[in-house]
Amino acid sequence: MPWNREQIAARAAQELKDGFYVNLGIGIPTLVANMIPEGVSIQLHSENGMLGMGPFPYAGEEDADLINAGKETVTKIPTTSFFDSAMSFGMMRGGHIDISILGGLQVSEKGDLANWTIPGKMVKGMGGAMDLVAGVPRIVVVMEHEAKGQSRIVNECTLPLTGRQVVDLIITDLAVFEVDPARTPSLKLIELAPGVSAGEVREKTDAAYVEALN
């Protein structure tokens, strides 16, 4: 049975190591914050200028001056620091954030990522997505394997790119792929959701990949 959203998030949370500074995207990635493995302590980065992001506030304790990058009210914790947007993106672009877990629309065989816009719709803007993928050394994309019966793991992205050769790991409801653009093919299937067969993944994946299942 394919993983559900929570299970995808739980699998992504296994990528977090103790002491990591972590940026989580919107959607499934947000769920990762509640699934940090036992004994692992991380600090969450919010690109609007905060490290050490706490949970949502209790009702009545919301503060308009304390929000995350999704504009949601959050809280501070003892490790929290605040800083301006230039330093916040310096952290990203300078490679100081250890890992980012993001949603995706398409990932290509070489690790190109498209996740910011769909042509024909009103473009909302890329916000900080392009900076994240350009600067953070490890990018994990979590997404449904297919959209409307179409594979999201493709030979070439047809949607506008967020970044070129930036994805290191793809976690879908069906499987986990490593990406290494130095290899051909660059994708390696390393894990299946329980009850999902390698054949089903092969059938539902447009991109070329090698299997390296244990």
């Binding site: 919010s46 690109e47 609007n48 200028g49 905060m50 949970p55 949502f56 506030p57 209790y58 009702a59 304790e61 919301e62 503060d63 308009a64 001056d65 304390l66 929000i67 995350n68 999704g70 504009k71 949601e72 009210t73 959050v74 501070k76 605040f82 800083f83 301006d84 947007s85 230039a86 916040s88 993106f89 310096g90 990203m92 672009r93 190109d112 009103m122 473009v123 909302k124 803007g125 890329m126 916000g127 900080g128 997505a129 392009m130 900076d131 350009a134 600067g135 506008p160 790119l161 967020t162 970044g163 070129r164 050769q165």
Partner: protein, 234 residues
């Protein structure tokens, strides 16, 4: 000493506004926005503005005020997702839009404020953002050339300021404000609390007064929350 403190937002902007100018505004969404100064710009009726801000916020709030009143000719921003009026004007071809990745935007503003005309960045390489931009390899990696931004006027919001213009910010209401404070011919700051020089520990000051030409106190500003998210008490 030249007096930097003005009695209200309208007088703090006297003589600074003209049609076609570039205004840089602090804030992220509607958090930490100089709403009182933006309201005074709205009231002034100045037109054909180029506005540089992370995102135009909500309908009729912050920079959204100037969108509703059709005073904005061009927007330079990283995001415009939650402003329906802006979307409508944009799709009707009534307003120009330049999207810039958020980190490139803030770095361009920092560069403009610190005398750097241009810099190279990895952000946006291989994407639409790279179209028409110079690319260059450094140590085998490809980068884009981005230009600094310097405005005619910057409007910012701070938590507390002394009359010398030294400012501190509160939590994530800091965001773009300290960077934008550095990047315009004239910077006007609204502060919630106005104190005497010496009342803020000089080690805590985020924006030194040199960057702030004029100030106005806005006590107890109305602060809207864009997305109220809470958890239940256990």
């Amino acid at each position: 000493m030249t007096n930097k403190v003005y009695r209200d937002s309208a007088s703090a902007l006297t003589g600074l506004l003209r049609d076609g100018m570039t205004i840089i505004s602090g804030g992220f969404g509607i958090c930490g926005i100089p709403d009182s100064l933006l309201a005074a710009i709205e009231d002034s009726g100045v037109r054909d503005l180029t506005i540089v801000t992370n995102n135009p916020g909500l309908d009729g709030m912050g920079v959204g005020r100037l969108v509703n009143s059709r005073q904005v000719r061009k927007l330079i921003a990283s995001y415009a997702g939650e402003n329906a009026t802006f979307a409508k004007q944009y799709l009707a071809g009534e307003v120009e839009l330049e999207y810039c990745p958020q980190g490139s935007l803030v770095e361009r503003i920092r560069a403009g404020g610190s005398g750097i005309p241009a810099f190279y960045t990895p952000t946006g390489v291989g994407t639409q953002v790279a179209e028409g931009k110079e690319t260059r390899l450094f140590d085998g990696r490809e980068y884009l050339l981005e230009r600094g931004i310097f405005g005619d006027l910057a409007v910012i919001h701070a938590w507390k300021g002394d009359s010398e213009g030294n400012l501190v910010y509160r939590m994530t209401a800091r965001n773009f404000n300290p960077v934008m404070a550095t990047a315009a011919k004239v910077t006007v700051a609204e502060v919630e609390h106005l104190v005497e020089p010496g009342e803020i520990d000089p080690d805590h000051i985020i924006t030194p007064g040199i960057f702030v030409k004029r100030m106005v106190q806005v006590p107890d500003p109305y602060k809207h929350i864009e997305k109220r998210t809470v958890r239940q008490r256990a």
